[in-house]
Subunit: 358 residues, 2 copies
DNA sequence: CTGAAAGCGCTTACAG
DNA sequence: CTGAAAGCGCTTACAG
């Protein structure tokens, strides 16, 4: 392989001069700089990453710890991963992907061995076993997902509580009086998937505050189970006029369920989901939704992480906890409930539509 | 950080002895070995990856180059990625994920800098710009996807031609006489997505050989476009009794389309797709399909890659080109065509069902 | 069975 | 503006 020694020899300078000429870290005569640059280009020189890491204690690699659980909807995870990976690259970092089941062990391995300059944790649980290790690690960490104890790391997540309130308020403004909420599977909650109950609790409280009847249920993450459950819920609560979905699989299953029942949204049922626009487009989901913003969250996490890595001042700044406010993307699946519409003939279908992306 | 010097000092031996004791690469007295092991454990020693890579010229990292195109169905990619990543870890390797749009540039970067010991390319095109670079790289490479020129690398892919023939033959045995094939978008073909026409050509030829009428079309990778196209195809070819799908988005859209038309598979239409079982379960697709085996292909690619990396003999073995034979997973969506069934009353619905996974 | 030393390819004070 | 040298933390011939 071609080393900096080869460049130095070809340019007729010392290795240190070659190094400085390439890095620009001290002033070099234009002549020499040109000779070094030419030599590097001609010989196709790329610094050896291991050697550079050893000398500088910087790898320019970030770790990305993803966790895949059998009872979660895997495709949603990909968008977070791409948000992280693409942003990292934009900032000059590569991404070490870790999908190992034992995330704590993996985290220790990549941090102890100094394979990475920082770590992004995905799918963070309430009491995440990886967190104590991350706090103890010399590298900074950023989370996508809000844990019980967010200290010592930068945390980014959708504001699920605000999302729940926004869903209820939107339905309330349209005069809905009875709603169904389908959350992720209960297993997710038991494993510490706090976002499930953060949204659910907010929905429950806001519904109570608004005098709205609410039926909250956990839904499976697989088809056809989730479709069957949706049917059962609609059977059980015929007076419900609005459906809130904090469950990607349920959203994907709903078109068939509605079709089978001869229902249309928003004519017969108003629907709001919680998923990404990319997800909606991929599966053609015609339902308004609170944008889960996976790419944005991944990007925010990496930007903050890299700032902490590179900026010596940022290193000791207080950690941030940023909850992205919910944005309701209007796809026209909400309107006045059937009864209200018959009762008040002049009522427009969505007088308070929040707009969102077109 | 704790280095091997710290271990050596704590154990009262030289650094080389500590290193040998840890690696077991030469015989060490039981006493010393124990003292070193204790010291390493107590101090929480993990070798510095950069230093080790510099000394051994091995990183124990494989590069994973994924490519995401706007007109392809992204969720399918995740399973290949997990197949690679999980297998790599099982073999003691970490995975550097590259999602950069300019795959060739990225490949050069990670190979030239010696960040990886080998590379897996996903989504390989007929005339893939990354291939010349990979052949010129000092590290071995493995592909998932068959390029026009497979020399210099190990290649793994589904046997799409055999898959096409199997689809047609299955329909032929059931006495279907007119079929529709929906492929991936034409853009994928233009970009060099050879698997599209490998399957399509085989279907066309086999249909001709069997005297079966065939209507081949490219389908969009997005909803609702693909659903609309499916409707148009079924409208245009009312006599077609079988539908072959080499397009994940089309498969995901089909249940709604069938429902909207009041059709049931296999009663009114026999259907065979080409996607993974994981995909089928996630979206509850009730259609028999040729398994695309993403996890298996990712695993095979990594196993061969690691063998070439670690086994000095394997290094110079001839490169392999392995096409995984298609396996038809029977989900009960094929049967005799409606006309044949009325014609021959005693005909069982699927006399030659290939079984496959239950 | 063990140790002193060289070397992997960089970067960066130190010295001029 | 430039060079000789030290050092990052490992591994591994070389020598005993």
């Amino acid at each position: 392989m071609v080393t900096i020694g080869d460049i130095a020899r070809a340019a007729g300078v010392s290795r240190s001069t070659a190094s400085y000429a390439l890095s620009g870290k001290r002033s070099i005569s234009a002549q020499v700089r040109q000779r070094v640059a030419d030599a590097a280009r001609e010989l196709g020189y790329t610094p050896n990453a291991g050697a550079r890491a050893l000398a500088t204690a910087e790898t320019r690699v970030v770790g990305l710890l993803a966790q895949f659980h059998a009872d979660e909807f895997a495709p949603a995870m990909l968008q977070y991963m791409l948000g992280v990976s693409d942003t990292a690259r934009e900032l000059g970092y590569d991404t070490l992907l870790v999908t190992e089941a034992d995330g704590a062990r993996a985290l220790r391995r990549i941090t102890d061995s100094r394979m990475v300059d920082g770590v992004v944790l995905l799918n963070v649980a309430q009491d995440d076993a990886r967190l104590p290790l991350l706090r103890a690690a010399p590298q900074p960490g950023a989370l996508v997902g809000l844990p019980g104890d967010p200290s010592g790391v930068d945390v980014f997540d959708l504001d699920f509580a605000a999302a729940g309130r926004a869903m209820v308020d939107h339905m309330h403004r349209l005069r809905h009086r009875e709603l169904i909420l389908v959350s992720q599977p209960e297993h997710v909650v038991e494993r510490g998937g706090a976002y499930v109950w953060r949204l659910q609790d907010a929905v429950v409280q806001q519904a109570a505050a608004r005098g709205i009847g609410l039926h909250a249920a956990f839904g499976p993450s697989r088809q056809p189970d989730v479709g069957r459950d949706l049917h059962a819920l609609l059977d059980a609560h015929p007076a419900a006029t609005g459906l809130l979905l904090n469950n990607e699989a349920a959203a994907a299953a709903l078109p068939s369920v509605l079709h089978a029942r001869g229902l249309r949204a928003p004519r017969d049922l108003s629907v709001i989901g919680r998923y990404s626009d990319e997800f909606a487009r991929t599966f053609s989901l015609p339902f308004s939704s609170v944008e889960s913003a996976p790419d944005l969250l991944g990007e925010m996490a990496v930007r903050h992480l890299v700032r902490r890595i590179t900026d010596p001042l940022a290193r000791d700044e207080p950690h941030v906890l940023r909850l992205v406010p919910p944005e309701l993307v209007d796809r026209g699946s909400t309107g006045a409930p059937p009864t209200a519409r018959t009762a008040g003939p002049g009522t427009p279908p969505d007088p308070h539509g929040q707009g969102g992306r077109p």
